[in-house]
Symmetry: C2
Subunit: 294 residues, 2 copies
Amino acid sequence: MARINDTSGYLIAPDPARKRLTRAVQGTDQNGDPIDLRVVEERPLTIYLNSQEIVTAMTIGDYPEYLALGFLRNQGMLRDDDVLQGVDYDEELEVVVVRTAKQTDHEEKLKKKTRTSGCAVGTVFGDMMEGLAGVTLPGLAVRTSDLYTLAATINRTPSLYLEAGAIHGTVLCQGDRPLVYMEDVGRHNAVDKIAGWMLSEGVSPDDKILYTTGRLTSEMVIKTAMMGIPALASRSGFTAWGVEIAQDIGLTLIGRMKGQRFVCLAGEDRLIRDADPAKVADEPRKMGRKGAVL
Amino acid sequence: MARINDTSGYLIAPDPARKRLTRAVQGTDQNGDPIDLRVVEERPLTIYLNSQEIVTAMTIGDYPEYLALGFLRNQGMLRDDDVLQGVDYDEELEVVVVRTAKQTDHEEKLKKKTRTSGCAVGTVFGDMMEGLAGVTLPGLAVRTSDLYTLAATINRTPSLYLEAGAIHGTVLCQGDRPLVYMEDVGRHNAVDKIAGWMLSEGVSPDDKILYTTGRLTSEMVIKTAMMGIPALASRSGFTAWGVEIAQDIGLTLIGRMKGQRFVCLAGEDRLIRDADPAKVADEPRKMGRKGAVL
């Protein structure tokens, strides 16, 4: 499948040639012959909310500010009424500090919680489910013709995935146009970076579709809902809980989207079936969605 | 690719028919026709070490005791000299409590840490790297004929992956024989369940090979090393840091193992190339490694 050359339709497209995102690694193949491979980097990034250490994420390292902002937002730690004062990234220390005008609710909660239980991870999860309770998603109509166009465009867009593999991509889309394409070693990071970008730019989620290469687990569905995005599509499979949450909150959920095939798991009534699947090209085996040898 | 019928060679094989691991979900396909799918479950499981809440993991829910034990062990929170007093699982509360004879070092550390920083996640990561410092792996010779046999057997073993998809598998192997095959929604959970089983059964890691369907990230490599297993092979790709750690600590690392192809990224000198790749069957496209429609 030919790659597209013109990515000017994107607001942010992957930059597979960017330094520090990949490294050349030497190995030997099945015949014992040496091969040089381009491999994605993975770095720790520690996120602080004011003076509070929150989490260390493993990331490829691009857009650390968006990752921090989006993570805190999607976990419900940053709320609409928190006034951002700055996001400071220290490359050497591998730390991002998100500063708000006053201490957030979350810091107080975390302190109380850690006194009794010691760790925030359980709390984080509880907060996510809590944050979900107030979410209502707009009833966006989704055209299957747009979904097919998006998948074909995204899969042919030059990316770290096509270049090096072992990475997940998530794309913020509007109609049949992919807008912001983020990649990361953790599929959740790619989503969080998009959330951080949306927050920074004040972008409305109401008419957006999120496309991801990763599985539709509960966490992925919850993050999409926390961002207010009404539709989520993936090449990959899904878990029972992911489907259940999507059905409960009115998120249109499309899984296993490859070539002409897909499964609609929630939001069938919002789907406009305006494309003939038989006329959609099936996905060739060697479509390049794997790492390339240099 | 035909599935094998006889799994009696395994000590623990997947049990795709087991209740509570999958659920029937209804969707519509690309033509608007209703389809019933079997989908993996995903449940929260909160792990305690004595009175200390450590983490909430998302899991399919089988072997919660092994998951808890293996997680704590792989994070360096349970050490060789900690005396286990019991592992109690409460299905209704979705909680596992691992009890030791006396308070572990980790609990004291965690308390100190949380007083200043509030969350254990950063600590957890630091502890993992710290734990790695003392690890030396035995120089196990690995036969490529064994690797090919293992991959062919594992891929044809009835599993939740073949049944429902959207799940990762990890298999503890010895020579050409797969011993314990664990699956989970999170690839790290599958590894941790194997670690918990090894700890419970007192199994030596010295002559073992770990096979996984997931990517070879730093965390996967570190966990394998923490378990003392000298060889790790995967169908999937790898990150630069994963490769670097494997090279540093003497772990034999094999990636992108599909059909006759593989890449050796570390431990070339311990690899015995006793199989002719040209005689190994290449992997058919429809080998069934995806979710099945009911």
